[in-house]
């Protein structure tokens, strides 16, 4: 049976030399991204880098990777940019209808289950995305989770990471994280973890974008990092 030529097949030859031992993981490295979410004391922070690249070329330095679903629920999407944008559009569509039908916002755990189901629908032709979900649940308890591109959920009590810089991020978060940090300290920690990790990844960087969410307010800040 002839396999349909997929868009990125044309670029496979460019990647084969560089990433011969990565297998099909190359597609996740096409655009580059770094995402991290951390839990604090009755608050959470979610941060991303700002680079949009086409392999080695940087196209944009203000690319949005964290999206707001409702006032206390955010989803960051790492991976192939076209898929992240489409997936975000589909999820916002689902949430808007949910809100109209049920007359309430989705809880973060419910939203995570929805994202998992949406991703698994495409099990044999997946979205090349890795989501990071962060929200305040019942009683304003922070909730974070990540999943792979076919919807395998991973809940965590402390932090979750995604993207091309994920390995550096794991190291940085593991060493810098402390439980029950207040909002300001959480912001400092997540910013340091993000900046130091993307500096070790050629495909992500060009600044940072941090959302700090408490039960009463949402603060959005841009970080200045190495612009390379």
């Amino acid at each position: 049976m002839r396999r349909k030529a997929l868009a990125f097949d044309h670029f496979l030859h460019l990647n084969v030399g560089k990433c011969s031992n990565f297998g099909s993981g190359v597609i996740f490295e096409y655009n580059g991204s770094a995402l991290v979410a951390m839990v604090g004391k009755n608050c959470f922070a979610i941060a991303s880098d700002r680079r949009l690249g086409v392999q080695l070329q940087t196209i944009a330095t203000d690319f949005q990777k964290i999206y707001r679903i409702h006032h206390t629920l955010f989803i960051g999407l790492a991976g192939l940019a076209t898929d992240t944008q489409t997936l975000y559009q589909r999820l916002v569509f689902r949430h808007k209808l949910y809100h109209l039908r049920e007359e309430r916002d989705m809880k973060p755990e419910t939203f995570a289950s929805l994202v998992s189901a949406v991703l698994y629908e495409k099990r044999f032709g997946p979205y090349f995305c890795q989501p990071v979900i962060a929200g305040l649940g019942d009683d304003d308890k922070p909730f974070i989770c990540t999943m792979d591109s076919i919807g395998a959920k991973e809940l965590a009590k402390d932090f979750v990471v995604a993207g091309t810089a994920s390995e550096s991020l794991y190291g940085a978060c593991e060493s810098m994280f402390k439980p029950d940090m207040e909002a300001e300290e959480l912001f400092e920690t997540i910013s340091q973890a993000l900046i130091s990790s993307v500096d070790r990844d050629c495909l992500s960087g060009w600044g940072g974008h941090v959302y700090l969410v408490t039960p009463t307010e949402v603060t959005e800040r841009i970080l200045k990092g190495r612009m390379d």
């Binding site: 039908r101 049920e102 989705m106 809880k107 755990e109 419910t110 289950s113 929805l114 189901a117």
Partner: protein, 235 residues
């Protein structure tokens, strides 16, 4: 009357603006066994007569009140087999919701989806409306709720309601006795008294069925002996 010329086809309006088949379906409901529901401050109770066609029928095998989800139950008036189809579809919809959101379906959503199914059967070819009205009792984050769903697909939230043969007497009785802050056990007593009003013969744990849900959010159908206990409390 001009209406009868339009009663052959479900999907044709009569000149008076009615769908005659739905009217007939409501008549089928109105000649079914009485059932009722009462919403208390801390729960909901639903009850029905369980008159069997002969004393030879094994009454333990008949269950008119069914569970849709662990926290939602339903009772019907009208054609039993039609209610079984709706119960099946509703259970499936509730499970599909859970599979997608990993959260129990809210009562209003399940009622709306069931009502949508009933409405579809009033606007499709080759089918007839369901000959049942359902009373759905549930307890979720919004508290105790009681809904009635009609063959037309319309649904209403009730504080207390009755359907079936004795509906007007039962509703009049409920109107007199219902209070806003009634407790669940008192509601059960009121339900039994309401059933007793129009009951032909001797009421017992074997010829009525009672289902209830409290703040524990678990819907249960009472066993005949539990019903007997409540009956004795009422005496």
């Amino acid at each position: 009357m001009g209406d009868s010329q339009y009663s052959f086809s479900l999907t044709t309006f009569s000149p008076s603006g009615k769908l005659v088949q739905i009217e007939h379906a409501l008549t089928a409901v109105g000649s079914g066994q009485t059932s009722l529901g009462i919403k208390a401050s801390n729960g909901v109770v639903i009850a029905t007569e369980k008159k069997l066609p002969s004393i030879l029928v094994d009454e333990a095998s008949v269950q008119k009140i069914q569970t849709l989800t662990p926290n939602i139950g339903v009772v019907y008036s009208g054609m039993g087999p039609d209610s079984r189809v709706l119960v099946r579809k509703s259970r499936k919809q509730a499970e599909q919701y859970y599979r997608l959101y990993k959260e129990q379906i809210p009562v209003t959503q399940l009622v709306r989806e069931t009502a949508t199914v009933m409405q579809e059967f009033t606007q499709s070819g080759g089918v007839r409306p369901f000959g049942v009205s359902l009373l759905v009792a549930g307890y979720d984050d919004k508290g105790p709720q009681l809904y009635q769903v009609d063959p037309s697909g319309s649904y209403f939230s009730w504080k207390a309601s009755a359907m079936g043969k004795n509906v007007s007497n039962a509703k009049a009785f409920l109107e007199k006795r219902y209070t806003e802050d009634t407790e669940l056990d008192d509601a059960v007593h009121t339900a039994i008294l309401t059933l007793k009003e129009g009951f032909e013969g001797q009421i017992s744990g074997k010829n009525i069925e009672i289902g209830m849900i409290g703040s524990d959010r678990i819907f249960r159908v009472l066993s005949p002996s539990e019903v007997e206990d409540y009956l004795q409390e009422v005496e």
